[in-house]
Amino acid sequence: MKEKDQTNTTEKLSADQLQELRELVTGLDKLSLQRMQKLMADPHEFAIEISELLPFSIRKLIEKGSINMADLLPFFEDMIQESIEKNPQRLANLLFPIMGPAIRKAVSEDLKRLIDSLNQGLESGLSPKHLKWRFQALFSSKSYVEIMLSHAYLYQVKHVFLIHRDTALLLHHEKAGHVLDIEADMIASMLSAITDFAKDSFHSDEQDAVDSIKIGDTNLWVEQGPHAIIAAVVEGNPPPDLRIELKEALEAVHYNHRPELLNFEGETEIFEHTSKFLKPCLIKEKKEKGKKPPLFALMLLVIVLIGLGFWIYQSIQTHHTYAAATELFSSESGYYLTKTERQNGKLRIFGLKDDYAIEPSKLLESKQLSADQFEFVLRPFVSMDSMIIIRRAEAILTPPETVSFAFEKGILQVSGHCKAEWKVSLEQHFNKVWGVHSLDTNQLTITDKPVRDLSWIIGDIMKYKFVFDVNVLEMTEDQSDQFYKLTQTANLLDEFNRLNNKQYKILVQSVTSKAGNEAANLRIATMRAQTFLELLKEAGVPKNLLETRVINTEELVEPEEVRSVSFVVEEK
């Protein structure tokens, strides 16, 4: 009965009352309850509602430690693996904008190490070109390899095309300032066609693509992105860095214009903004080079100037040397120059030379000139130069140190002092000296006794006569004095013989009489003659100059005093 009453009571509650009851029980107003009901009824709405709270809740749970990251990892790994297996291209497209920089960073680190080791390896490069680059590196803030690479690449990017990959339509085109306009639309499509053609013809792999085409000095470099292609027309020899520029530009285009690229239907206006990504690709190396001071050119100029200066200095020095040598030999006594000429780096000197002239090497040495720079072609001649005549006279006449010569107008002037003997020799031989016609000995003093002439000597010797008493052999005191004087003159005769190469002899003539014992007289006379001969020998007269003769009075042509010794000079 009680249960029935309760049921009746419930049935009797109106909708409003029920609502009021719900609000009291849940503590929610009508609108909130309706929202809750809607969420429960519509899973989609419920999911949206939950999605706003779920990330926050998960984060809170992780912070609290209720969820461990390590526990979640397998789920994420499985998800990624499944995604890759299902459609690898999608993930590749998503990662494309970040993969490039990450890969480049890793590669650039490796490249840096490679370049460093390359730098060390190339330090040993000693070719002229490498030495030139080394000099540039020395005087600039760049490394040797940078300098080397900058010389290896000389190029200019003339056009950059941004092409939509699917439609092959040109999205944007940039060209270098002075380059002529081209039909960019058609060329872009044709480029696309060519790369497609190459890919279709030679590669089956979807990932492979043409990345460069070379036509003579012009290169076409292509960088492929998921939705767009960048193609750069480069003249010259571009460095690998240019490809990085193109990649970065392509990544920037994809990052900033991905929706437009995906939904592209031919409208290209939006891609005008890609200009800021494409223009930096219009690089030309000449511009960079222009900013650098031409250090090498300056150094080369300095080296050339130093070389030129040295050459001029050497030429002047050589000219001075040759002029000095020419002047030296032209003015030197005993030389007569006919000509000079330069040959094989030497000065050849042609001319005449007197035997008594100073030797060329000594002359050059006296002026501190190297004999290696000269070659002489000299013929002999007789010089009439005063100096040479004096030298010739000195060689022929061999004057003592106390005598000096001077020469003027054919006359040899002899001054100083000498012995009489040398003067005699001088007078006999001066005419053997070429150029000397006469002697002037007024200034020459004889230091020893005067030389007598032959007639005086003969006369002096022959004036002596020694008369002896009967049976006397010894000389008196007077006679001894006389004999001393005789020996003096006899020695002069000897000297005369030597000087004149003559053979005058002294005949010791002993006279006797026939009175008394003739034989005894003859013996005494012979003894007297022999005694004088010995005395003369003792006085220094050479033996071969002496001869004895005994004369009886009856044999005399002219009357002579008997018992006398006299002297006769005869030539042998």
């Binding site: 990959r165 092959a168 058609m186 066609a193 053609f197």
Partner: protein, 156 residues
């Protein structure tokens, strides 16, 4: 099929014919105004002769529209056009197309019959008769195709 000579007088070209025999395609450009919209068409004149198997599908991908050109005096070109359409439509996204039956000036000598063409029309094909010799209907063909392409892109 004479398609090159058909369009050559009406387009701007900087590339020579030899591209056909080298890489199999030659790019031309055509500018025209359709319904006050200025349009620049880039034409991929694909070298295929009668053997459509030689055509590289890569050249077709991404195109917005295409002409199929048949020679009215040769019935075999009718079949080829159909096969080409099948291949092209498989690699393009709903691209607009028109079948041009050329040599309209020699209609008396045609081997392609009206019945054949009617069959295609029933399948929704748009067919136009052109003459490379007289230039008949060529400009109009470009305008029609462009209009269809713009319709596909909801410009008109």
């Amino acid at each position: 099929m004479g398609k090159t000579s058909l369009v050559q007088r009406f387009v701007r070209s900087i590339f020579s014919e030899k591209y056909h025999t080298t890489i199999g395609v030659k790019i031309d450009q055509k500018e025209l105004t359709v319904n006050d919209v200025e349009v620049t068409l880039l034409l991929w004149d694909i070298h295929g002769e009668d053997d459509f198997m030689k055509i590289k599908p890569t050249y077709l991908i991404g195109s917005s529209g295409y002409f199929l050109v048949a020679d009215g005096t040769r019935s075999d070109t009718y079949e080829t056009a159909i096969k080409l359409h099948e291949m092209t439509s498989s690699v393009t996204k709903n691209a607009a197309f028109i079948l041009l039956v050329n040599k309209a000036d020699l209609k008396d000598s045609w081997e392609i019959t009206d019945a054949q063409l009617d069959t295609l029309k029933e399948q929704g094909w748009q067919i136009m008769f052109t003459s490379a010799k007289t230039g008949e209907n060529v400009e109009n063909a470009f305008a029609q195709l462009t209009k269809k392409m713009l319709q596909n892109q909801q410009y008109v």
